[in-house]
């Protein structure tokens, strides 16, 4: 259906098929739309076979880093006698990104199903959905869906009556950007301050409560359910023939100075130019697009020219000098003062730095002060060198980066 606009014919509507369809929110409505068939299938399979299918599909993490999901799942070693956990990262705190929100608002059962499949596949009995504090409405729908699923025996000690235990819990965060970082999320879930942990050990070895844990983005888990139901080959139909590394469909959230903001689901490798002009309607009347941040506010910003040549998949955006990230497309037109925009983004990072590593804590605040000085006309040429140098000094020298 599409929300808030009708789906464009060039979209590849899989995850967003029921956006705007209020009936899909209920258990009955979801089942009528084919819901929980994938879970039933999964619980009848060997966990290792599910991992293999997901691996074969080429599905990669949709939260930002793009790590192959099946490979991540295969890190979990079943039968080591420890409890295993699945965490669903529904913190969606990257500015410009609002795709997980819509998945949870319109198809909460899709996420419950995805979590249950993921948990079973990695040998976990418990999945936690960590939802950011500001997502009050999605939280409400998720709580309702989980309750419905328990009442119907879909979750619990005997999930779907198939003799396997699958528990799904919804946890509300307090609204911190850093809690979208996987280890900070786990700390927060444990009741600690949401500071990232030093890796190694990686979550697959010692994650939530010190136990082997897999953490996946909302979109990834929901896509995994579709992969399982329709097969790896079906999922691989989307993507560039010359790039087998990026497969399937991807939700992009579009905001900023653009005619039709909203969520769009396109095949991997879709031309960014067509996306911006055909699907999203291009710039507002009388304006020109100046720059685009294609993957959430922490990926490099590119000019309109660079954007026009880019292809929308992991490798395509890297070739254009940026990253796919979380798929949060922020568009700036020629009326925008870029210094002001960047200063605003810098202020966000200075506000949200968890303060654990000195480089980020002090560096984000320092860059903000310099940028705001430049914005106010008090900048010097030396400031530019200092900014570049602080940037170098911050990159890679903190736990979360």
């Amino acid at each position: 259906m599409g929300y808030p606009h009708q789906s464009h014919p060039r979209e590849a509507v899989v995850l967003s098929k029921h956006f705007g369809d209020a009936e899909a929110r209920t258990l009955a409505g979801w089942k009528a739309r084919g819901g929980y068939q994938a879970l039933e299938m999964a619980l009848g399979m060997a966990a290792a076979d599910i991992v293999t299918i997901v691996k074969d599909s080429g599905l990669r993490g949709r939260g930002g880093a793009g790590f192959p999901t099946g490979v991540k799942w295969s890190f979990m070693k079943p039968g080591d006698g420890k409890p295993h956990y699945l965490c669903c990262n529904a913190d969606e705190s990257e500015p410009g990104t609002f795709k997980d929100r819509e998945i949870m608002r319109w198809t909460p059962h899709a996420l419950v199903e995805g979590c249950a499949i993921g948990a079973y596949a990695i040998g976990a009995e418990t999945a936690y959905i960590y939802i950011r504090g500001e997502f009050t409405e999605p939280l409400e729908w998720m709580n309702k869906a989980v309750k419905e699923a328990y009442d119907a025996g879909i979750l619990g000690a005997n999930a779907m009556g198939m003799g396997k235990r699958v528990d799904v819990h919804v946890h509300k965060g307090a609204g911190a950007y850093i809690c979208g970082e996987e280890t900070a999320l786990m700390n927060s879930l444990e009741g600690r301050r949401g500071n990232p942990r030093i890796k190694p050990p990686f979550p697959a070895v010692a994650g939530l409560f010190g136990k082997p844990t897999t953490i996946n983005n909302v979109e990834t888990l929901v896509a995994a359910a579709h992969v399982l139901k329709n097969g790896a080959a079906w999922y691989k139909q989307w993507g560039r023939p010359d790039n087998p590394k990026s497969t399937g469909t991807k939700l992009f959230s579009v905001c900023g100075n653009i005619a039709r903001p909203g969520n769009y689901e396109v095949p991997m490798g879709f031309p960014f130019k067509d996306f911006l002009w055909d699907l999203c309607g291009g710039p507002l009347p009388g304006r020109k697009i100046k720059a685009v941040i294609p993957g959430g506010s922490s990926v490099p910003i590119i000019t309109a020219e660079e954007a026009e040549g880019a292809l929308m998949d992991y490798e395509g955006f890297v070739a254009a000098g940026t990253m796919l990230g979380s798929g949060g497309v922020i568009v700036f037109d020629d009326a925008q003062n870029m210094v002001k925009q960047i200063a605003r983004l810098a202020r966000f990072y200075a506000h949200e730095s968890c303060a654990q590593c000195s480089q980020c804590r002090e560096g984000t605040a320092w860059t903000t002060k310099i940028l705001e000085r430049i914005r106010d006309g008090q900048g010097t040429m030396e400031d530019l060198d200092t900014l570049l140098s602080i940037g170098d000094s911050m990159t890679g020298n903190s736990s979360a980066s």
């Binding site: 301050r193 654990q356 320092w366 020298n397």
Partner: protein, 465 residues
């Protein structure tokens, strides 16, 4: 802070939080690692006040040391510095937020070692500060360790505030005398005055810690009302004499008489050993009492607590034949000579301190003992070398930190002369010699030697008890 380059690792690793693995090649001084550390230092310093001249930590500040090693000479930071007010954290601790680098050692110590999570990081970004949880104070008996753990001058001891510069202090390895735990400590002295006691690490006893009641109870080592010269009673009054005359007078009083010794459990093993020899030679008895208080364990360290018995050498006194508790004067009869060896008499019945003769071997001459026949002034534990035996039987050396007042001499010295003058073993000229004789004659100390005790002490051959 300490970023190092590990070959084949994708990014620099924090040295303190990275486990070494087989085959690792680590570059500490590579240009990349050095640049990164300079970058971190610059960040740590942009909001750090340049107030080293008035900061208590100066001279023992890790940030200062690192800045000297590899910091920038100038600052590129032109913006106003962040400001937060100084906060009283309760207990002995003051928090100077502006100097804090948010390493969170204090937070982690209170949480995982003291097991009383009073501190936390509040706020985010460069607004972050260390805070107390609402309604909590740093009143845990071991909270003062956060001051030692703080690498900068953010957590300060109120007791030591503005008292001395770190480079003006003389330091001596010591053992905290304030309970039977025997925590290893450092006595810091300025102008012959003890101004601070800090923990000295010993994994077998106190790891890196010292309790607040222990570390803050050092002022008695500086008391001014000391016995400073030997005296003997002459024509009804105490008159100063030289040491030879005083020892001779004490020996003549002892001649043919049994003794009762009140021995302080603060005395060294050496002094107690010699007193024990005196009791053996003259016949008689020896006893002591010890002050007690509430026990306060540090839960993160096994077998570490502020112990109920508040004196360092209770175990040694017992081992060397002195009876603990009850009425310490029970063995005293008027036909005996009473020797009070620095034992606290303030809580005893003054009228019961009657004997054929009274010899005071003490750091002070209390009023209750003004009828003494001989007064032999001795050094306190900060003014001499010696050993204590802790409650688990560990024998530990402490070193001299300051000079004794007047003519006062170490107790082992005085007693060694007295034993010789009374017809016992010949005088010994070093505490190690006395300890050697002790080790040769007493099973608990068998096999130990003065040098071998080193800085961490030794347990008896059979192990801890």
């Amino acid at each position: 802070m300490c970023l190092v380059e590990v070959e084949k690792a994708p990014k620099l690793a924090p040295a303190c939080a990275t486990s070494v693995m087989e085959g690792n090649v680590v570059h500490v001084h590579s240009p990349k690692a050095r640049d990164a550390r300079q970058g971190v230092l610059e960040m740590l310093l942009i909001n750090h006040p340049l107030d080293c001249p008035i900061c208590d930590q100066a001279g023992e500040c890790e940030l200062q040391d690192y800045t000297f090693q590899e910091g920038r000479a100038d600052s590129r930071y032109q913006e106003p510095k962040r400001f937060n007010p100084v906060e009283d954290f309760g207990g002995d601790v003051l928090y100077v937020a502006n100097r804090c680098i948010l390493c969170t050692r204090c937070v982690r110590y209170m949480d995982t070692v003291a097991d009383e999570a009073v501190l936390c990081v509040s706020e985010r970004g460069d607004r972050a500060v260390i805070s107390k949880f609402e309604g909590e104070d740093l009143t845990h008996a071991w909270a003062g360790n956060v001051v030692d753990l703080c690498p900068v001058g953010a957590l300060l001891s109120k007791d030591f505030l503005n008292k001395a510069r770190a480079w003006e202090l003389d330091r001596a390895a010591s053992v905290c005398p304030n309970c039977t735990q025997g925590c290893n400590s450092v006595l810091e002295v300025r102008d012959n005055t003890v101004v601070r006691m800090k923990p000295r690490s010993n994994d077998a006893v106190n790891q890196f810690y010292l309790c607040d009641p222990g570390r803050l109870d050092y002022r008695w080592l500086n008391r001014a009302d000391r016995a400073e010269q030997p005296m003997v009673r002459s024509h009804g009054a105490l008159a100063p004499v030289d040491w030879e005359a005083a020892i001779a007078q004490a020996a003549s009083l002892l001649k043919g008489n049994a003794v009762h010794v009140l021995a302080s459990p603060m005395l060294s093993n050496e002094a107690l050993f010699l007193l024990g020899q005196l009791v053996k030679a003259q016949g008689g008895s020896g006893a002591f009492t010890v002050m007690t208080g509430p026990e306060a364990p540090l839960s993160g360290v096994p077998d570490l607590a502020l112990r109920a018995e508040r004196a360092a050498n209770v175990r040694g006194a017992e081992l060397l034949g002195f009876a603990k508790g009850g009425n310490p004067l029970a063995g005293l009869t008027t036909d005996k000579v009473l020797i009070v060896a620095d034992h606290d008499v303030s809580h005893l019945d003054a009228t019961a301190l009657k004997a054929k003769a009274v010899i005071v071997i003490g750091t002070t001459l209390p009023t209750a003992l003004s009828h003494a026949d001989v007064v032999l002034p001795i050094a306190n534990m900060a003014e001499e070398e010696g050993t204590f035996t802790n409650l688990r039987g560990r024998v530990q050396r402490y070193f001299q930190a300051k000079a004794a007042p007047g003519l006062a001499r170490p107790a082992w010295f005085v007693l060694s002369d007295l034993v010789a003058a009374a017809g016992g073993a010949p005088a010994r000229y070093a505490p190690g010699e006395v300890f050697g004789a002790l080790a040769a004659s007493h099973a608990h100390f068998a096999g130990m030697n003065w040098e071998g005790l080193g800085l961490s002490g030794a347990l008896p051959a059979g192990g801890a008890a």
